[in-house]
């Protein structure tokens, strides 16, 4: 009898634990908002610093995003000024002053250091990946859900991601980017020192993404996000025929 009662209690506990496990897509949607995935429109600035083989390079972008579109305009160094990357859904165009036609580029292509083109635009993991909560771990003292993400399409930035989302604030705090075969090739951590108001709701916004090369830990790229603000952008801003004119 006693054994039956214990089994019943155990079963109830397991059921309760399952009931507490949040839906992966909901978690991703919540964490995406703090990384730019906001439908109404947003603007922020990026300072990118890449350290490779002991050499440091820096560049800066002004990013305007709305829904699935984003436009990143290079503001520094001076020789790159005026260059634009336009993210139309999953298609990315590179526009350079004087170039006859824009070039379609890949989200996976290296932008600078460890950063890929797709890393500087708004994040939309909920749209781009199939996610599953696979466990719970503590990251930098924060209890977090551990998710396994698999790309829904070939033209997204990464094939597979291990993603940790904090339980209390629902923010992506760590990511491991994996090759198709499952090897980790980059590790990223996220800080959320920015705050902004979207549709009357105040939310934490990413302030820094630090990406480390898994095979060469001294190669580190830091993307600093500055001055995020909710801003409405016209749809024409993201029309490739209007860019660079």
């Amino acid at each position: 009898m006693k054994r039956h009662i214990l089994s019943l209690i155990g079963l109830l506990m397991v059921s309760a634990a399952h009931a507490e496990t949040p839906d992966a897509t909901e978690l991703l949607r919540a964490s995406d908002r703090s990384r730019g995935g906001i439908a109404s429109g947003i603007t922020w600035q990026i300072d990118l610093q890449a350290v490779e083989d002991g050499e440091t390079s820096t560049r800066a972008y002004l990013v305007k995003a709305k829904g699935n579109d984003a436009l990143a305009e290079a503001t520094a160094p001076p020789r790159n000024k005026g260059e634009v990357m336009l993210f139309n859904d999953r298609t990315i165009w590179f526009v350079k002053p004087g170039l006859r036609k824009p070039v379609s580029i890949s989200a996976r292509q290296r932008l600078s250091g460890e950063a890929a083109n797709g890393d500087i635009a708004s994040t939309n993991y909920a749209r781009d990946y199939d996610g599953a909560v696979v466990g719970e771990e503590t990251v930098n003292g924060q209890p977090a859900w551990k998710l396994e993400l698999k790309a829904k399409a070939k033209n997204v930035t990464y094939d597979r991601i291990r993603y940790w989302i904090s339980k209390d604030r629902r923010l992506g705090v760590k990511a491991e980017f994996l090759t198709v075969s499952g090897d980790v090739f980059k590790i990223a951590t996220f800080d959320y020192g920015n705050r902004m108001t979207v549709d009357g709701v105040e939310l934490d916004f990413v302030s820094r993404m630090t990406i480390t090369d898994a095979s060469q830990p001294s190669d580190i790229t830091t993307i600093t996000f500055r001055e995020p603000k909710a801003e409405s952008h016209p749809a024409s801003l993201f029309n490739i025929n209007n860019v660079g004119r």
């Binding site: 890449a50 490779e52 083989d53 390079s57 560049r59 790159n80 260059e83 990357m85 590179f94 350079k96 170039l99 006859r100 036609k101 824009p102 070039v103 379609s104 580029i105 890949s106 292509q109 290296r110 932008l111 600078s112 250091g113 083109n117 490739i240 025929n241």
Partner: protein, 453 residues
């Protein structure tokens, strides 16, 4: 001595059918080896010329130390800068065995047409040097089809075209660029983006010869330049057919924002000197203060396809060669054994008349020599005739790994024929010696009585 040869020739005529069969076996064996060897020589020469001149490896490739392995991932660190290029050129210029030197920049990126982009591997070349290489007598003799653009003219003929590029046929097809600069007749490229979903999108993409090339600069930022397709060419290897681009060195350096080159190539007056000269030149370059490595073209790391293919062809030739040699040897052994058996009494008679064992052995060896020489001569005529007929028939075939087709050519050389003679003639004599020696050592009485019995 003259009588001995006359006697040997007369003896050959005594059993015409058997000697004819043996001679035919030797002649066919020789002709077969001559044709196989001629084919192997042609393929080797084709692959070598493609690797050295058309893949621009050079007879000797000079990379910064570690550059061969790492220049693709860390180009700025493992490229040769302008000062290093000048010093390498200076050392090469002082080497009398070097016919020509060239600078090459390799890189990767995306080629776009306004609708889509296709990854490419680019090679930046010096147009004037390129023109000399493509017109090189060796290239024109061995691989003129691959050296000639499928459409358009070599890069050197378009000095006024800004951003002149040559695309492999596969890359041009993937980008929908069916026409080149000369065929556009000066039409201005379409401004802005074409409507890629429109029914006439294919025609509009083909309306100009303009492409955009994007790549990461040596400083690590994204860059792009305009390119104008002036020719379309076939690459030596099928695997590179869908993504190869050749641009001017200056144009590619502009794309990658660098003055570096990935490697320099030395083209020698004599192909055969590459292996010996590589360490000598490397030592001289290092003495000049350059941390570089020099690779001969037949180094597997530089020309894996050439080395792999030749290894396989060599094994096949060796295997067939052993089989043919065995057939020729056995035919000869069989013929001479029967001859000696049939002529045991004759040997006894000659010995009884005072001929020495040595003279008897000499007689049979002369017969074997005469038979083999006649057969080899006939084989050479047969092989030469078949090779000439095959070459004249212009038979086309598609070898594995090579883009497009090529003419089946069989080019046996005098060296090959002499080598075959040097193998088959002594072998034939050795086999004859083996068949005859024991019998000539028999006592006269035994020879005569054995034959009578």
């Amino acid at each position: 001595m003259k009588d001995a040869w006359r006697l040997a020739l007369r003896n050959l005529a005594r059993n015409r059918r058997r000697n004819l069969a043996t001679g035919v076996a030797i002649a066919f064996g020789f002709a077969g080896m001559m044709l196989l060897g001629g084919y192997a020589i042609r393929i080797e020469s084709f692959l070598r010329t493609n690797a050295v001149y058309l893949q621009r490896v050079g007879h000797l490739a000079i990379y910064k130390e570690g550059g061969l392995e790492k220049a693709s991932t860390k180009p700025a660190k493992y490229g040769l800068d302008a000062a290093e290029q000048a010093r390498v050129a200076e050392v090469l210029a002082a080497e009398p065995e070097v016919e020509l030197t060239a600078r090459y920049l390799r890189g990767v990126g995306l080629a776009g047409n306004g609708c889509k982009s296709v990854p490419f591997t680019a090679l930046g070349v010096e147009p004037e040097v390129e023109a000399r290489l493509l017109g090189h007598p060796e290239v024109q003799r061995v691989s003129p089809e691959l050296a000639r653009p499928v459409r358009g003219k070599p890069l050197a003929e378009y000095p006024a075209v800004d951003g002149a590029v040559a695309l492999s046929t596969g890359l041009a097809r993937l980008l929908g660029k069916s026409r080149i600069h000369d065929e556009i007749a000066g039409a201005a490229p379409e401004a802005g983006l074409p409507d890629c979903a429109a029914p006439d999108a294919t025609a509009r993409l083909a309306a100009d010869a303009n492409v955009q090339l994007a790549g990461l600069t040596y400083g690590g930022s994204l860059s792009a330049i305009d390119g104008e397709i002036v020719n379309v060419f076939r690459t030596p290897l099928a695997e590179t057919e869908d993504g190869t681009l050749v641009a001017t060195l200056e144009g590619l350096q502009r794309l990658y924002e660098t003055d570096q080159v990935t490697y320099m190539a030395a083209f020698l007056k004599d192909d055969g000197r590459a292996k010996a000269l590589a360490p000598v030149l490397e030592r001289r370059l290092r003495e000049a203060g350059l941390a570089v490595s020099v690779y001969p073209f037949d180094d597997e790391r530089i020309s894996p396809y050439y080395v792999g293919s030749m290894g396989m062809i060599g094994s096949i030739v060796l295997f067939i060669g052993v089989l043919v040699t065995a057939v020729v040897s056995l035919s000869m052994l069989n013929a001479m054994t029967l001859t000696v058996l049939e002529r045991t009494r004759e040997i006894g008679m000659f010995r009884a008349l005072g001929f020495t064992r040595r003279q008897m052995l000499g007689l049979f060896l002369r017969e074997a020599t005469a038979l083999t020489v006649l057969a080899l001569g006939a084989g050479a005529l047969l092989g030469g005739a078949v090779a000439a007929a095959v070459n004249a028939a212009n038979i086309r075939f598609k070898p594995p790994g090579i883009s497009g087709d090529m003419q089946l050519l069989i080019t046996p050389t005098a060296g090959l024929c002499l080598t075959l003679v040097a193998i088959l003639l002594p072998l034939s004599l050795l086999v004859t010696l083996r068949a005859v020696r024991r019998r000539t050592r028999e006592r006269v009485v035994t020879l005569l009585t054995e034959a009578a019995a």
